[in-house]
């Protein structure tokens, strides 16, 4: 393995969250009182499990033997040639069991509940259905009752995933309120949790929500970055050096925080999150919290303080993205904080650009990406020409595109 020099960080990025769950001015716990004791219990249980060798060994074993970790690092030779460099490497979370990175956190939390909490039932929300499928999978494997809330708009556009969840024994409850997408599914999951908190764990799927969720989800997803760091540095599996940039899509931001986090100290590595630009920022129909100064402001949504797309009156804006998994009005609080610290940067790709990303990766690399992940691929089209051909980009391919075939067929038409 090559020696890597670490540029000394000016900031200790691991100093957050503080004890109250704040990442600088972001994060915290904004929930009804009924849930406060459950959050305190979850934090306590999680901190114990984090340092419990037996628990960690069991999780590691399941990640290897059930999820299929470590996921490979793939050198994208034809994509690299297409751009004329830089060299592009892809972290293959699409090859994790159930087809996306979501299983890392779902399995971690489900195991936490099974081994450490006196609870028997899981509720979860899902947008694209990947977190729902991952949760239903973990619940089936561990023998836990599972209810998944999903907006009816999302149920229509991610139909195969609805069937997969039901096949796995989960109950899928359609949510018809508000925009009928991810935000509304989270509201309903929280309402269920408030009602059944004594026997129910809320298995939140992104680096969002009240403390300690953003930390728990980040930690369980950081396996992506830890593996990627090792694979990049090892000349047998990667370029034998650090990447110059890492690109990941950001909805709530769990796959991005998972791959970014182990690289935070390596200041020379640019960390780039790609939000959903939808039909363009000017249209107002997007989910780009950082890119729209008119709608994207500091606010509180579903338990956490972060950037929130909202109107002047503090009512949450309706969002749009071709990808259900990025179609959300807020973003994980740690992303907002790392951005303030100048450690991460955020840009966006529109629906059309994401579709172009799907086409490129499918044709050049034989990999059909999820529409979410295609936003990261799409950004390469802008990023690659700005970089030197000897430089290296690492892209996190958070999921595979099978679930999106319906949408893609409708958008791209006959090929």
């Amino acid at each position: 393995m090559t020696d890597v020099s670490v540029t000394p960080s000016k900031v200790n990025y691991r100093a957050w969250p503080d004890e109250a769950g704040h990442f600088g001015p972001y994060g915290g716990k904004f929930v009804p009182e009924t849930l406060m004791p459950a959050l305190e219990e979850l934090e306590e249980v999680y901190l114990k499990a984090k340092h419990d060798k037996e628990f960690q060994a069991e999780l590691d074993h399941l990640l290897r033997t059930f999820v299929g970790r470590p996921t490979p690092l793939t050198y994208a030779r034809r994509l690299t040639e297409y751009f004329g460099g830089p060299r592009i490497y892809i972290k293959r979370e699409d090859l994790a069991h159930t087809g996306a990175h979501k299983i890392n956190n779902a399995l971690g939390q489900a195991l936490l509940m099974k081994r450490k909490m006196q609870k028997t039932r899981i509720v979860a929300e899902t947008g694209a259905g990947q977190h729902g499928v991952a949760t239903a999978t973990a619940a089936a494997m561990l023998g836990i009752d599972c209810v998944v809330y999903m907006g009816t708009v999302d149920m229509a556009r991610q139909e195969p995933n609805v069937y997969r969840m039901r096949l796995l024994g989960a109950e899928v409850r359609g949510v018809d309120s508000g925009s009928k997408t991810l935000k509304d599914a989270i509201n309903e999951a929280i309402r269920d949790w408030v009602t059944n908190v004594r026997n129910t764990h809320y298995l939140l799927g992104s680096a969002l929500g009240p403390h300690p969720y953003p930390t728990i989800v980040r930690d369980f997803q950081s396996v992506i970055g830890r593996e990627a760091l090792r694979q990049m540095l090892d000349p047998e599996t990667g370029p034998g050096r650090l990447p110059d940039a890492i690109v990941a899509c950001v909805g709530g931001g769990s796959n991005a925080i998972g791959i970014f986090h182990p690289f935070l100290e390596y200041e020379q590595v640019r960390l780039i999150g790609v939000e959903a630009g939808g039909r363009g920022i000017e249209s107002g129909e997007h989910a780009a919290r950082f890119a729209d100064p008119k709608l994207g402001r500091l606010g509180v949504l579903q338990g956490t303080k972060s950037y929130v797309l909202q109107d002047e009156d503090g009512q949450i804006a309706l969002t749009h993205s071709i990808s259900a998994g990025l179609d959300y009005a807020s973003v994980g609080p740690e992303h907002a904080w790392l951005r303030d610290l100048g450690r991460t940067e955020y840009t966006y790709a529109t629906d059309d650009e994401a579709l172009e990303g799907v086409r490129l990766l499918s044709r050049l690399e034989g990999i059909i990406p999820a529409l979410e992940s295609a936003h990261a691929i799409a950004h390469l089209i802008k990023l690659a020409p700005q970089m030197h051909k000897d430089e290296v980009i690492l892209v996190n391919l958070s999921g595979r595109g099978d679930k999106d075939l319906g949408t893609i067929m409708k958008e791209l038409g006959a090929l």
């Binding site: 109250a20 915290g28 716990k29 904004f30 929930v31 009804p32 009182e33 009924t34 849930l35 406060m36 004791p37 459950a38 309120s177 508000g178 935000k183 509201n187 929280i190 309402r191 408030v194 009602t195 059944n196 908190v197 004594r198 402001r297 500091l298 606010g299 509180v300 949504l301 579903q302 338990g303 303080k305 929130v308 909202q310 002047e312 009156d313 503090g314 009512q315 949450i316």
Partner: protein
């Protein structure tokens, strides 16, 4: 007299009269702007002691279907935070003099500007604030502004609250404490939870503040049962539902009378 003092006076009077306070919630702007004002005026005329003035939010995660639908309807009709405060001023101008507690999720207040909201609310005739998704841990700015403006800060306690949290939350409450009767969201229920008296007693060991119980109370018998163990009876969904139907105002008045009778006559069986 500050808002907090006005609220305290209500509970003092109720105590002196050997009854509980009847505390209706209504969603401003539902079923429409004018009718929501009439609902509050009507309830005030038939014995409401204190009101919860519901400011609508797009994502009411502690609310059940009735209040979700009502606040969504109000929003769709263009109800804003500013307009809710304007309605409060109109109610005061009409002569409705009972204390008002604004009930709002945090984001509309945060977007308005916490300090400015508290000042404008106090100037409009609001006496206290209830923010169901804002635990004391996150409420430093709001509490400071409320202290300055003389508004009460009312927090919620739930059956799941530990002894430690009861002490902590009670220490931050002024005016009264809002006890959530059930582990759940707002909405009318057929029966009060069996462990309610035990929960109220558990809280009372840690505080001298008046205790008001809400969530799930829908009729006079339930109101009387709550009035036997607590100082305030909060009713939301059942009244909101009545206000939304045909002859809404008449139904609100009828149900309001029954609830007020229950709250005011703890020894009754709820029938007036």
């Amino acid at each position: 007299m500050t808002g907090l003092e006005r609220i305290e006076a209500v509970f003092r009077r109720c105590r002196a009269e050997g009854r509980a306070a009847f505390m209706p919630y209504h969603a401003m702007g539902y079923p429409d702007r004018q009718k929501s004002l009439q609902v509050i005026r009507t309830l005030s005329e038939i014995g409401a002691d204190l009101f919860e003035i519901g400011i609508p939010h797009s994502d009411p995660l502690a609310d059940g279907p009735t209040i979700q639908t009502a606040t969504y309807t109000a929003l769709m009709q263009g109800t804003t935070v500013k307009d809710c405060l304007a309605m409060v001023r109109e109610l005061r101008a009409m002569g409705v003099d009972r204390p008002f507690c604004a009930m709002s999720y945090y984001n509309p207040i945060f977007a308005y500007g916490v300090q400015r909201f508290v000042e404008d609310a106090a100037a409009s005739g609001i006496d206290g604030l209830i923010v169901p998704d804002l635990p004391p841990e996150e409420a430093g700015e709001l509490e400071a502004a409320c202290r300055q403006a003389g508004l009460a800060t009312i927090y919620l306690l739930a059956p799941t609250s530990t002894e430690e949290r009861i002490r902590y939350v009670a220490a931050h409450c002024t005016g009264f404490i809002y006890l959530v009767s059930v582990t759940g969201i707002t909405g009318a229920r057929n029966e009060l939870p069996p462990d309610l008296a035990e929960f109220v007693a558990r809280v009372r060991r840690h505080t001298e503040l008046p205790l008001a119980v809400g969530f799930g109370i829908a009729n006079g018998a339930q109101a009387a049962a709550v009035a036997r163990i607590a100082e305030g009876v909060i009713v939301g969904s059942a009244l909101v539902k009545a206000a939304g139907g045909e002859e809404g105002l008449a139904r609100v008045a009828a149900l309001g009378r029954e609830l007020a009778h229950g709250a005011h006559h703890p020894r009754s069986n709820g029938a007036s």
